[in-house]
């Protein structure tokens, strides 16, 4: 064709050749066809260049898009490890549970009705759903509910006509068009005409389910309906399909038996199914609650902290890019429970294991995905604790029984003196790890004094006379006193002054150091403290710090506090803090006042403005409320300022270091704060000859936990130990005897045990006469194995009377087992 001459062909008919007269042709036909071919060629050229652009130049971009669309990631959970005590009893574990869930398309007839209507009547799904929800909320006052409902849905008139016709006449052609003669569809259509009937199935099923499970049906109804509504509102049809296929959990953790029965009677509960789930379970309930801790969902700031600590936190949806993060390390998801306190927190990493991931090719249709690549999850490792479950249980019981049935608040710690292993760690009051999140339970817990605080490590309190062990030892080591030093106590230091001693009779001969410990004589230790720091030194504080006070012990639990060892620097810091705090509050006050004034100005302006309209009245209300709120805030602020002023006043008055301070330190008061764990470790060091082990809960990991050791001189150590033995076993000792109901002296339970101890009673509230009672010591006397510290807060009793018997009960378990049954 290309070689044909267009001019010749167009001229032949005009030339009057015989062939063209016989059969008239189209002039210039070939040329015109050629033009058309060129046009087609141009179009093909465009197509090819477009294809080159799409497939070669930007092919990778489309490939990635398609890949992201079809790949889908499933996170595989790793079963977390258990927490086991030294004698093998399980304190925390993960168990399978059964949840009752609703498969909404089977439960809620609205889903089916919507599908059918969207398919046959073809209204926009979203508008249909919206109308439908409105309908469910406020319809059915009309005389002809069917018509009213149809019009309320605002379908096209043609559609309404068709539906009406179909409803009236079964044999009508339109009915067959709409319902394809499927009786099931027609039934749903009838249901759809009547919203109440539409909802009846779901209503009935949930009522039956609630009755079966014995729970309140209202929240179940609400949950199912709310979820359905949320799904209806989705605009993305993929998301819509995916969400409606996902069952909704209605009731969590039903008993196995119930789950089984529900499965058997599945026909009675259409749309209800059983899901398996896992949950953290604590067989002991309240057992060692502060040590074990709990897991929970983290708050955003906590997440940030985790991230800062090098953990990878995934907050977004589970997209493809999470993979890279998972390859790097352990990933946490924002909605996931993470260990929040205790062992659950500090050993989170090994308990949790590593999550796995399955990458699948997802089909556009809802069939199951084909697994393509998988990183298997790594199971969590069990954590074995040094906790002795028998002693721990007894210790908890002791606190719960308390004095005459009144539970006590306090803490107890028992350590192995040769390793630093924690055998007992109790903080009372405790809480039930399984049920404390239950709102009713939580309300009850709120009435107790800070049940979630681990008093053994995170609540420093004044040690009182227990501190005298340290003073005695320090003073002997510093040669402030010697074995022969005897000090007479007449009930007060010099004259009848503030430095009193009421721990023993006032007419006794002078005491040596052991007897002073035995009788807990204040005057002796006022003197010892004063002498240690003679000439403005800080040897006393140095000894306290050397013995591990004033800083955390480094136990493997989160939230440990170090306590305070006061000196002049501390006082100055305290003053600075008080000053800056007051300044802060004053600035706040100023700001608040300015805002208050502004609001007030606006108020007067509004009140004077004319004329009064509806809006202006409501605005005045608003401003009034604002003013009232400002006022309340100001009142609160003033109270805080007042207390801050008082504190500053006190800090200013007390900003010098005096002899009195040294003396008070000598009896463990005057600002010194310690934790029971520190005291127990110090007692252990006395027992083992000056070795300070780091207390730990993780059992048998082969590490040497010795942190440092002090070479106490044997004579000093002997004197102190002798004093501590006398406390329990000498008839003058503060823990040797107790009074029975008739006021007769009888030997205390503690004195039956081979232990040495020191009692202490620190005044915490002089007005109410409340004390912090203490007892700390070690045993057996000759060859020490364990050290202990027991403290009770806000008690009217004394260390010997309150803590002594408690310690005796806890230790009795140990010694009876040691001697064999």
């Amino acid at each position: 064709m290309a070689e044909s001459d267009p001019t010749s062909s167009s001229k032949t008919p005009a030339g009057g050749e015989p062939d063209s007269t016989r059969r008239p042709g189209f002039p210039g036909f070939q040329r015109r066809v050629l033009v058309l071919l060129v046009l087609v060629g141009l179009a093909f050229g465009c197509m090819v260049s477009r294809l080159v652009w799409m497939q070669v130049v930007s092919g990778d971009e489309y490939t990635e898009k398609a890949r992201q669309q079809r790949r889908y990631i499933k996170i595989l959970d790793a079963p977390p490890g258990s927490i086991v005590t030294s004698d093998g009893s399980v304190a925390a574990t993960t168990e399978g549970t059964f949840n009752v869930a609703a498969f909404l398309p089977d439960l809620d007839a609205r889903f089916a009705a919507i599908d059918i209507l969207v398919w046959y009547a073809r209204p926009n799904r979203r508008t249909l759903l919206k109308r439908m929800l409105e309908l469910g909320d406020a319809v059915a006052t009309s005389a002809d509910p069917g018509t009213a409902r149809l019009f309320a849905l605002r379908l096209t008139p043609k559609c309404v006509k068709l539906i009406r016709k179909a409803a009236e006449d079964d044999s009508d052609l339109s009915a067959s068009i709409i319902f394809r003669k499927n009786p099931a569809d027609r039934e749903l259509f009838d249901l759809y005409l009547d919203y109440d009937r539409l909802m009846a199935k779901s209503f009935r099923t949930i009522e039956a389910l609630a009755a079966f499970l014995g729970v309140d049906p209202a929240p179940l109804h609400r949950k199912a309906d709310d979820t359905a509504r949320k799904i209806f509102r989705l605009t993305n049809s993929f998301e819509y399909r995916a969400r409606r296929e996902t069952p909704v959990t209605l009731v969590k953790s039903v008993p196995e038996r119930t789950a089984f029965e529900l499965g058997v009677r599945a026909a009675e509960f259409p749309g209800i199914e059983i899901q398996t789930d896992q949950r953290r379970y604590y067989p002991g309930g309240q057992f060692a609650c502060h040590v074990i801790g709990y897991a929970g969902v983290l708050s955003p700031p906590e997440f940030k902290k985790l991230k800062a600590g090098g953990r990878i936190v995934w907050r977004g949806p589970k997209r493809f890019s999470v993979l890279d993060a998972m390859r790097e390390g352990s990933v946490f998801f924002a909605n996931e429970a993470v260990g929040r306190s205790g062992i659950e927190r500090s050993f989170e990493g090994i308990l949790a294991g590593m999550k796995g991931v399955a990458i699948s090719e997802r089909l556009a249709t809802q069939a199951s995905p084909v697994v393509h690549e998988m990183i298997a999850p790594v199971e969590g490792v069990d954590v074995h604790l040094t906790i002795d479950s028998e002693m721990q249980r007894i210790a908890e019981q002791v606190f719960a029984e308390g004095e005459g049935g009144e539970p006590l608040a306090g803490a107890a710690v028992v350590l192995n003196v040769n390793t630093g292993a924690v055998l007992v760690m109790v903080s009372a009051p405790g809480f039930d790890l399984n049920s404390f999140r239950n709102p009713r339970e939580y309300e009850k817990l709120k009435e107790k004094p800070s049940p979630f605080m681990n008093r053994a490590i995170s609540a420093p309190v004044p040690p009182g006379s227990v501190f005298k062990i340290l003073i005695a030892l320090g003073a002997l080591e510093e040669n402030a006193i010697s074995d022969r030093t005897h000090i007479r106590c007449r009930g007060y230091l010099h004259n009848p002054d503030a430095f009193r001693c009421r721990n023993h009779a006032a007419w006794l001969p002078p005491f040596g150091v052991s007897e002073a410990l035995c009788r807990s004589c204040n005057v002796f230790f006022y003197t010892a403290g004063e002498r240690m720091n003679a000439g403005g030194g800080v040897r006393l504080q140095e000894w306290a710090r050397m013995s591990g006070f004033g800083r955390p012990t480094g136990i493997d639990l989160p939230g440990e506090k170090g306590g305070t060892v006061p000196d002049l620097g501390w006082k100055k810091k305290r003053l600075e803090r008080a000053k800056s705090r007051l300044a802060e509050l004053r600035a706040k006050e100023k700001k608040l006042k300015r805002r208050f004034r502004k609001a007030h100005e606006e108020y007067t302006r509004l009140c004077n403005a004319e004329p009064e309209t509806k809006e202006s009245v409501s605005q005045i209300r608003k401003v009034e409320n604002k003013l009232r709120e400002f006022d309340r805030e100001l009142q609160k602020l003033y109270a805080r300022i007042e207390s801050a002023e008082k504190r500053l006043d006190w800090a200013q008055k007390d900003s010098f270091w005096t002899k009195g301070n040294d003396r008070l330190l000598g009896i463990g008061q005057g600002g010194v704060l310690v934790t029971p764990l520190q005291i127990a470790r110090f007692a252990a060091a006395i027992a083992n000859g000056g070795k300070f082990y780091r207390p730990h809960l993780l059992a048998a990991d082969g590490r040497n936990y010795l942190d440092w050791r002090i070479d106490f001189s044997p004579s000093a150590l002997a004197a102190v130990r002798r004093g501590m033995v006398m406390v329990v076993h000498d008839s003058r000792g503060t823990a040797h005897h107790r009074r029975d109901e008739n006021g007769n002296r009888i030997p205390s339970a503690l004195s039956m045990l081979p232990v040495a101890a020191k009692t202490g009673t620190a005044e915490t509230n002089r007005v109410k006469g409340l004390n912090q009672a203490w007892i700390a010591g070690y045993g057996p006397i000759g060859n020490p194995e364990i050290a202990f510290a027991v403290t009770v807060e806000n008690t009217k009793g004394h260390g010997g009377s309150v803590c002594g018997p408690m310690a005796a009960q806890i230790l009795a378990a140990y010694f009876s087992r040691r001697e064999g049954p």
Partner: protein, 398 residues
């Protein structure tokens, strides 16, 4: 015996020389591709099963080849003289389908004849081409007068209006370039054609306002921005129309673009297309068969496909240029124009150059009516080529 044998030999030589091998070969190639890719598109990864369509397509192709054989036997005169009757019959079927057709996805395009569905608008395309060819062949001078052209336009407009009533915008629009191509080939004056085109352009706003339904507008607008179709619609549609736009979320276009684009130069391999086998690509065996091929065979496959279509079109144009019978000339141009337009529009919508309409890819897409009509068109080209005198004889004829 020997004379008869010699005569047969001469006949065979004449047949071989006159038979349009280019059209036949490209058709055979396209049919082979059709079977291969409909087989691929019928695979379902979830169930590892093949849908029925592959088997059905083989049946349609078989029937189509039988139709070719049958149509090759029909004398040219009979075809020419029956053109008005064919046209009338097709108009009747277009009217009838509006009343007794089956409703599917909102439009009435099909007759249900037992298990198969017949689409009369497919036949109407060829019938209209025949009618126009007959009309101009009667008196070629008609192409050069405005009256004659107006009459030809009326011939085309009747089926257009009927098809728009179904509604089937895509098929109706096919008639426009086909008619224009035929008018042009018949020798219409350029100023007349320009006048028609100008009128047509002026009618576009009217069509937008009065003829198009909101969902049709929506689909046209999706094409502007497939990733965010709602944005474009908000600009061009009223509040009320916006509410009635449905099924225009750009899903089809996005999936098709991903399929074509991810094919790359050499493709992902036969039956390894993820967009195809995992079911992301909608209507993959009909409207988007091009995307399936583009995904699995890449740019190279596309070039092979377009080359085959090019060979078909050039071969057809060659036949039109060489035959001496005016009716055949115009009919061939019309049939080729139908094919070319469908190829350009369908492939164009697969790669995002055209808005998505329900047009099939001739000879490749699944569908009985489409396949039969396409093959009938091919048969007619071969028939005309074989039976008419040559204006410009081939070398083999001499």
């Amino acid at each position: 015996m020997s004379i008869t044998a010699f005569g047969a030999h001469i006949k065979a030589r004449r047949f071989a020389g006159r038979f349009n091998w280019a059209v036949a070969a490209s058709t055979a190639g396209l049919l082979a591709l059709s079977m291969a890719f409909i087989f691929s598109a019928s695979f379902h990864a979830a169930t590892q099963e093949y849908a029925r369509v592959a088997k059905m397509q083989v049946i349609w192709i078989g029937l189509g080849l039988a139709a070719i054989f049958f149509l090759m036997l029909v004398p040219l005169r009979l075809l020419r003289e029956s053109a008005p009757w064919i046209y009338a019959a097709s108009l009747f079927s277009l009217v009838a389908v509006l009343f007794i057709g089956t409703v599917h996805k909102g439009s009435t395009r099909w007759f249900a004849l037992g298990p198969v569905h017949v689409q009369p608008s497919e036949c109407a395309k060829i019938a209209t081409v025949f009618m126009l060819a007959w009309f101009f062949a009667k008196n070629p001078e008609r192409a050069r007068t405005l009256r004659g052209l107006a009459a030809a336009l009326a011939i085309a407009l009747v089926p257009i209006v009927l098809i728009l009533r179904e509604p089937d915008l895509g098929t109706a629009m096919i008639f426009v370039p086909v008619t224009l191509a035929m008018l042009f080939a018949a020798g219409a004056k350029k100023r007349h054609l320009a006048l028609f085109i100008a009128c047509g352009i002026m009618l576009v706003p009217l069509g937008w306002l009065f003829v198009l339904k909101p969902y049709q507008k929506g689909r046209l607008l999706v094409f502007l921005d497939p990733d965010n179709p709602r944005q474009a619609m908000k600009k061009f549609l009223s509040e009320d129309e916006l509410k009635r736009v449905r099924f225009a979320d750009g899903y089809h276009l996005r999936q098709s673009l991903m399929a074509v684009g991810s094919g790359g130069l050499t493709g992902k391999g036969y039956r390894r297309g993820t967009q195809n086998t995992l079911g992301y690509l909608p209507e993959r065996h009909t409207d988007f068969i091009f995307a399936v091929l583009a995904e699995e065979w890449g740019l190279i496959g596309c070039l092979v496909l377009l080359g085959l279509y090019g060979l078909l079109i050039v071969g057809g144009a060659d036949a039109a240029a060489r035959t001496s019978d005016p009716f055949s000339k115009l009919a061939i141009v019309g049939i080729i124009a139908i094919m070319a337009t469908q190829v350009i529009v369908n492939a164009g919508m697969n790669v995002g150059l055209f808005p998505i309409t329900g047009l099939t890819l001739p000879l490749l897409s699944y569908g009985g009516s489409s396949m039969l009509v396409s093959l009938a068109g091919i048969a007619l080209i071969l028939n005309f080529d074989l039976r008419t005198e040559r204006e410009i004889p081939r070398i083999s004829d001499k």
